[in-house]
């Protein structure tokens, strides 16, 4: 029950939204978040959107990792 999954918001109706999790459609409450619109990705936990996922930060993390210095090549597997 700790699990929270990334879901894409499909439509918003007041404090409720429909979201897609790998193609499955789930009802999601928006009580805990603000300014959510269709197309946003949110983390869903026990039926509540916990937070909007930041695309900018995700790209930044991946960019940093792409540039990661692995260290001495010789010791690599």
């Amino acid at each position: 029950m700790c699990l929270s999954i990334p879901a894409k918001i499909l439509s918003v109706d007041g404090l409720m939204a429909k979201a897609s999790v790998n193609g499955a459609i789930v009802n999601t409450s928006l009580h805990l978040v603000e300014d959510i619109k269709p197309g946003d990705y949110v983390l869903v936990h026990t039926g509540f959107a916990l937070q909007k996922i930041s695309e900018e930060e995700a790209m930044e993390t991946l960019k940093l990792l792409a540039e990661l210095d692995q260290g001495n090549e010789n010791t690599m597997l």
Binding site: M1, C2, L3, S4, P6, S29, H31, L32, V33, E34, Y41, L43, H45, T46, G47, F48, L50, Q51, I53, S54, E55, E57, A58, M59, E60, T61, L62, L65, A66, L68, D69, Q70, G71, N72, T75, M76, L77
Partner: protein, 358 residues
């Protein structure tokens, strides 16, 4: 971006693994304190990718696992009160109490209902005005806001038949208690979604007190490995502090709206944890102004102190002292189909994660 495949990329996994091997010299003991991490670490085979001097141990991070057995007995006792209809998350059903479980009670006709969201319990209360709905509030910082929303909604709707039994717990006091008990932890993989809500700043006091390294982490293989690399670097440089790996979902201050709702409804109290005992200021109870919705105050039941099942070492597993396979019941008398202890019940429990994924 789907926030999944990108963080399961095999080339990135290889690259980070190589960097860990290169940079890590000193023995390192890392604990994860979120059941979601325990499951992901086992499922993705993370330990097999690490040098043998880096040890990963599970901690008290699965909500049903750390719920004291007396609390389970109390939930069962609520279902035996005439007029009560129980609304609970499914994870709780098979957790063994002293003599029974919710599952067994349900099989014998108790009114036990699984809900996915706390708002379904509110719906249940509206649809059944002559019944008392008891909702089991369980979970850490991640799940508590859902219970707070339900109480606020119940007050708004003027419901007089909705009650929460709060077993909610706070993570930092447990992380503190483990170090206080002398358990060796060189770094914590910080719980991602707990921190999404509460904010990375909530660990500042812990870092200040114990000079510990904490990296708040996501749940995909790339996330976990990057966090381990960050912990390796902090350890090699003797650096304490809180760092955020899971930047796409976590900030220093968390989710202000969720935090506000929690502090409007709940207040801190002492709480009993399975395996860890009583920890000061580690639980949450309803504030006085919401006492009309507190199951403990409105539906009295008498429940004696419960004891752990003989042979089960859940308490040691939850403190990172023993591993599930150190238990002599593991995989024999205790399996996911027939759990003896709570750690075998949930997919996020250490015993079940070890059983399913090795």
């Amino acid at each position: 971006m789907k926030y999944m495949d990108e963080f399961r990329d095999a080339a990135l996994v290889k690259k980070i693994t190589a960097a860990i091997k290169n940079r890590s010299q000193k023995p390192l003991r890392i604990m994860e304190v979120c059941g979601g991490h325990t499951l992901a670490i086992r499922k993705f085979g993370i330990p097999q990718l690490l040098p043998s001097h880096i040890e990963l141990v599970s901690g008290p991070g699965c909500p049903v696992c750390v719920t004291d057995r007396t609390a389970i007995d109390r939930v069962i006792a609520f279902t035996r009160v005439p007029g009560v209809k129980l609304a609970t998350y499914g994870d709780l059903l098979r957790v063994p109490g002293s003599e029974s479980s919710l599952d067994l009670e349900k099989a014998h006709g108790a009114d036990v209902n699984i809900v996915y969201s706390s708002l379904e319990a509110i719906e249940m209360a509206r649809a059944n005005p002559n019944r008392k709905i008891v909702f089991t509030g369980i979970g850490f910082e991640t799940t508590t806001p859902a219970s707070a929303v339900a109480v606020i909604e119940a007050a708004k709707l003027g419901l007089n038949n909705f009650f929460v039994f709060s077993m909610h717990k706070l993570m930092p006091p447990a992380m503190d208690a483990l170090i206080e008990q002398g358990i060796r932890i060189d770094g914590y993989i910080g719980p991602g979604h707990v921190t999404t809500i509460a904010g990375a700043d909530m660990y500042n006091a812990l870092v200040e007190k114990h000079k510990i390294a904490i990296v708040v982490t996501g749940f995909e293989p790339v996330d976990l490995l990057q966090a381990i690399l960050m912990l390796v670097e902090m350890h090699e440089e003797n650096r304490a502090g809180v760092e955020i790996q899971y930047r796409r979902a976590v900030t220093v201050s968390g989710n202000p709206k969720a935090r506000e709702m929690v502090s409007a409804v709940f207040e801190v109290c002492d709480e009993h944890w399975r395996g860890l005992g009583k920890i000061s200021d580690s639980g949450l109870r309803l504030q006085r102004k919401y006492k009309a919705f507190d199951a403990l105050q409105n539906i009295p039941v008498d429940v004696p102190q419960a004891f752990e099942p003989p042979g089960c070492i859940c308490g040691e597993v939850l403190r990172g002292i023993s591993r599930p396979n150190d238990c002599r019941l593991f995989g024999k008398a205790c399996t996911p189909a027939n759990p003896v202890g709570a750690c075998m019940v949930s997919g996020e429990g250490a015993c079940q994660a070890y059983y399913n994924h090795g």
